[in-house]
Structures are given as structure tokens and as C-alpha cells.
Symmetry: C2
Subunit: 330 residues, 2 copies
């Protein structure tokens, strides 16, 4: 009988997550019931939202249970099926969690075509992060050609797609990222019009120079000082898609310093969760898939190897150590 390895939440973090908040376990794989299938997960996606799940208390999703397999997006291959809709060899993406194998009834799995798009890309630009970018840009910011769009965490899985979609839509795209290397990638490889290195530059001053016509749409992944620096540059009737606030995920929440800008510039700020816009996914995935297959949307991955490396890689993600999409090769 095959043995499954999985990572469970051992304890809830206070402040920064540490690898000790997780525990690696092994367990025999169960026999498949009628209608079930077994997936060998090849890729685990690590995403900032997981940090919120680790907390107790009210949020948009139920808290991750203690001693339960950590929630997570996965891409893998069906190795055994008692479900007529799937066959061994099918490539599938779903939410099978931090584990090497997953049993599913197929209802939450999506078969994918890896002819022109790599399997791991379905966890990145052609998956949840890409759709998040697409929904935020098109349905929250409602970006129009000629506008200026700013995105924080611009080299990340979501931010990188936001800026490239903005450019494809004839917008000016300006990124904010941490470090010269990430900024160079954002402008030279992803084709953003400009990128501000928040670790080396005064974001407010640099932004003023980078957006001579002001900011019409802001896609926020970070919060804190970066949002404070962007708000004064927002044009009247600017829209802010609030996707994440990673700056505050590991300690006290970081305030918005001067909310007067929302009033003075009649701004709209809207928090959103991509899983609540399911009706938009098919169109988003179709467009994103075509852009990735056609080379118009590029992406980068940071790959940790082996399930046991996931906790440290997740801590690194929260600290911005990843470059592009953070994955674990299982």
C-alpha cells in the first residue's frame, strides 16, 4: 500500500509564521471508493491567503483546522480512477492541499491541457493568481485604454499578470517591487513602463516621477507605507482593487495613514476574493491561457523541492524572498 506524506497545521502563529507551526506526517493511502480517484500531486502552490487561514477567528473563509492537512492549490496527474470522468494520466488542478497524494470525487478538479501550457502555469498565470489579476483589473478597477495602472508586489504571481494585462489593454503599467533585480525583471522582461524599488527608493517621490498623469487604478497586494505613498498620486475617481495586505499579515495591522485622500479624490476602494467571482473564471482562463501560450504573458517561478521544504518556502513567501510564483515540486 502506498504511503502518503502530508503537512498539517501544528499550531497557530502569533506574528511571523515559523516552520514549527507545521508538522509533516505520513499515512497509508485509503482504498478508492466508487466515484473516487487518486491524484499524484506534482506541484503545490504557496499563496499569501494561506496566512489568513492559519489564524483563528472570523475571515472570509473558515480557519484552517489544527492537525488537518494544510489547504493549498495543487497540480498533478491522475494515477488511479474509479470515476468515469477521469482516467489515469489526466492532468488535473484542484485544491488537494499540502500532500503528495490526494483522493477526490472529481467535483473540485479541473482537467487541463499541457500541450502549450506547462502544468505548473495552471497554478500561476493560468490559475488562481492570474484570474485574480484579471478580475481585479477588469471588474474592480475597470481599467480603460490610456489609463495608468499601478500594482504592488509587481514581480509576484498576481502582480506580474496585472501589469502585463494592463499593457495588453493599452494602459501605462507601473510596478512596485522589492529590489533592483525584481524591478529590472518587471520592466525588461515583463514590459512594464516603470518599476519602483521600494527597498531603495522613496516610493512617493519615485512614483511622482513615474506617473506624470497620476494613477487611475491601483492594484494593492501589500498595504502599509506603500499604499500611503500611492494614495496622494491617485487621480479623481481612481479605483483601488484591494487584493492583499501582505505588509500586515504577520503582526499588527498597518493603518492607512491619510484616508482624507479617499474623500478629496473621490476614490473607490474595494476588497475582493477571486473565488467569489466564479462566473468570470471561464472567460478569464481562456484569455490568460491564450496570452501565456502565445508568449504575451510571461512568468517566473521560484521552486522549492520536496514537500518537506514547503514550510520554509512559505515563510520566505511572506517575507518577499520568492521571485514570481512560489511553488513546491512534490
Amino acid at each position: 500500500m502506498a504511503i502518503n506524506r502530508r503537512i498539517v497545521l501544528a499550531s497557530r502563529p502569533s506574528g511571523w509564521v515559523t516552520p514549527e507551526n507545521f508538522r509533516l506526517e505520513t499515512a497509508p493511502l485509503p482504498e478508492l471508493a466508487e466515484g473516487q480517484l487518486l491524484v499524484r500531486n506534482h506541484w503545490l502552490s504557496l499563496d499569501p491567503y494561506m496566512r489568513g487561514r492559519m489564524n483563528e477567528g472570523r475571515s472570509y473563509a473558515a480557519a484552517q483546522g489544527l492537525d488537518q492537512t494544510m489547504v493549498g492549490g495543487t497540480a498533478g496527474e491522475v494515477i488511479e480512477s474509479r470515476n468515469p470522468k477521469f482516467a489515469a494520466g489526466d492532468r488535473v488542478v484542484g485544491y488537494l492541499g499540502w500532500q503528495e497524494y490526494g483522493v477526490s470525487d472529481g467535483s473540485q478538479l479541473m482537467k487541463v491541457d499541457t500541450t502549450h501550457i506547462s502544468l505548473s502555469a495552471y497554478l500561476g498565470p493560468v490559475g488562481m493568481p492570474g484570474v485574480t489579476a484579471w478580475v481585479g483589473l477588469n471588474h474592480i478597477i475597470e481599467a480603460k485604454a490610456g489609463e495608468t495602472i499601478v500594482v504592488s508586489a509587481a514581480s509576484g504571481a498576481v502582480g506580474s499578470v496585472v501589469g502585463q494585462l494592463a499593457r495588453l489593454g493599452s494602459c501605462r503599467a507601473v510596478g512596485i517591487a522589492g529590489g533592483e533585480e525584481k524591478c529590472r525583471y518587471v520592466t525588461e522582461e515583463l514590459g512594464f513602463d516603470a518599476c519602483i524599488d521600494y527597498k531603495a527608493q522613496d516610493v512617493g517621490k519615485a512614483l511622482k516621477a513615474a506617473v506624470p498623469d497620476g494613477v487611475d487604478g491601483y492594484f494593492e497586494n501589500v498595504g502599509g507605507e506603500i499604499m500611503d505613498a500611492v494614495l496622494p498620486r491617485m487621480n479623481a475617481f481612481g479605483r483601488i482593487a484591494l487584493c492583499g495586505l501582505i505588509a500586515g499579515y504577520n503582526g499588527d495591522p498597518i493603518p492607512i495613514g491619510n484616508p482624507t485622500w479617499f474623500l478629496v479624490s473621490r476614490l473607490k476602494l474595494q476588497g475582493f476574493i477571486v473565488s467569489e467571482h466564479m462566473s468570470l473564471w471561464p472567460q478569464a482562463l481562456k484569455e490568460l491561457g491564450a496570452h501565456v501560450a502565445g508568449g504575451r504573458i510571461r512568468y517566473r517561478e521560484t521552486i522549492a523541492h520536496g514537500l518537506e521544504s514547503a514550510p520554509a518556502a512559505f515563510v520566505g513567501l511572506l517575507k518577499g524572498r520568492n521571485f514570481g510564483k512560489q511553488l513546491v515540486k512534490l
Copy 2:
């Protein structure tokens, strides 16, 4: 020749406004040119937005000029007209500023009917404050029957109308106001379901008790600690109409303490300026006029007497000393 008295901005305030920021001047009235008319202003409206105009620098409207007549809404009577659309005796509202007389070409004046609605009410519930409430509730919050609406500065010119309109639309209306007397007025005279006295109660705890089903819409006039207390009570997909932030008008801006709520509860925050929704004014004024004439919307006025009392009354407004609409009888 008649003498006009007017108040000009003498200096820009740093922090709290003082009466010394204003100067009373006298000047002879000019002869009317063809097409002009002369109005004797009976009422001057004092409103929080004036504080923003006193600052130099970028805002949604041009700064109030130094040594120029202070901007302000007025209601009065035409006493001489060389404009065929107006006749002596017409009651008119407009923006003739802090002065006893105003000369106009008529283009920014609106004739009003005082048969069933008092002249001063056109500066309150049937004027800019009332329309502000109507637009925020109906077009920013998009309140629906059965929802819970919270409004800060609930006894004020705008807030009092927000809650009464919410009740008329079959919503639960909860106010936040300063002092037992204002709170009693809000519930007993205006018919709100509940009111929280922010000077005597812990707003967060009191709100929790007052909104057992959470808050769907929040009409914000104040900001600061009050907004911080409301955010955790907002339901998923709640909407916040940001109309004012008076708590921060006279000093450093007051941060939003925990913006994570916008994300966790997928909130929309939208700043708005009623003068940018002119297409909605006719419908709003029609409904508000009918409600006021029919006694379904009630209001209270705090009246200062004489133009020379305007500066101190304005300072009082910024400190919350008024009760209902702050007016100056000229």
C-alpha cells in the same frame, strides 16, 4: 446707496480654525447691470466642507481665495431685478457666500416655493445636505429594504436625513452622535432604531449590541475612532459612503487603524461629492421636498444671529457644538 457687509478669509488656519482667520468688511453695493439681480440673503449655511476650502493645495475644489468673500450656500429674497427670469419678492437659494447681499446673473440661483417648506430648509433637508444624504444612501450604499444602515454625526444636517431616509426605505437605522441629548433626539424625534453616544459609550461594544445582524451600509461623516469601531461590524460586501472625515479636519489626518477589514469582509469604500451628481438632484429634491412637507423627514436647526456671528458658529460646527443644521440668520 446700500452698504453690504461680508466676511472674507483673512488667513489660512493651521489646525483649528479661529475667528481671527476671518475679517468682516463693508462695501457699497454696485449698480446692477442688465441681466443681474440683487438678493438680500436671509440665511447663510455653514457646512464642514468649508474647512477644506480654507486650506491651500489640492482638493476637489479650488481653495478659497484670501481676502475673498467666503464661499457658502445662501437663501434669500430678490429685492431688485434686471433679469427677466426673476422678480422682486422671489425666494432663491444659491451660493452667494458669507454676505448680506449678493449680486447674481441668475444662472446659479434656484427659485423655491416656501408655501409648505420653510426657506431655511432649502439649505438643509431639501438642499445640499439632504441631497448628499440621498445620493450617498441610494447611489453609493445602494441600501435595500431590510438592511442595517449606520450613520455617524447622526443628528447633523446630513446624518439626520440619512437615517430617516433609511427608515422610510424599510432599513434598520442606527446613528452615532455625541451626547445624550443628541442621541435622544435621533431615536425619539427622528425615529432611528438606535443611537450610540460616542462621548459616553464604547462605540464598538455598543454597536455590537445595536446591530445584531451586522452593518450593510455605513454613511461616514466623521472618521477616526468611529470608523475603526464600525469596520469590524460590517457584513460581507458592505458599502461605505465616505462623505466626510470631520474628526481629522483640524489637525493631522486620523488613520484607518485596521484596513484588513476591507479585505476580509470585501468592503467597498467610496468617497463622493454631491455636486458631482447633479443629474440626481431633481429627483432627490422632489422626494426630499415631499418628505419634509409631509412631516416624514424632520430636522432641527441651530441658528446664530447676525453675519458677525458666523466665524464663531463655524468653529462651533467643527467642534460638534451645533445641534442639527448650523445656520446664520442674516
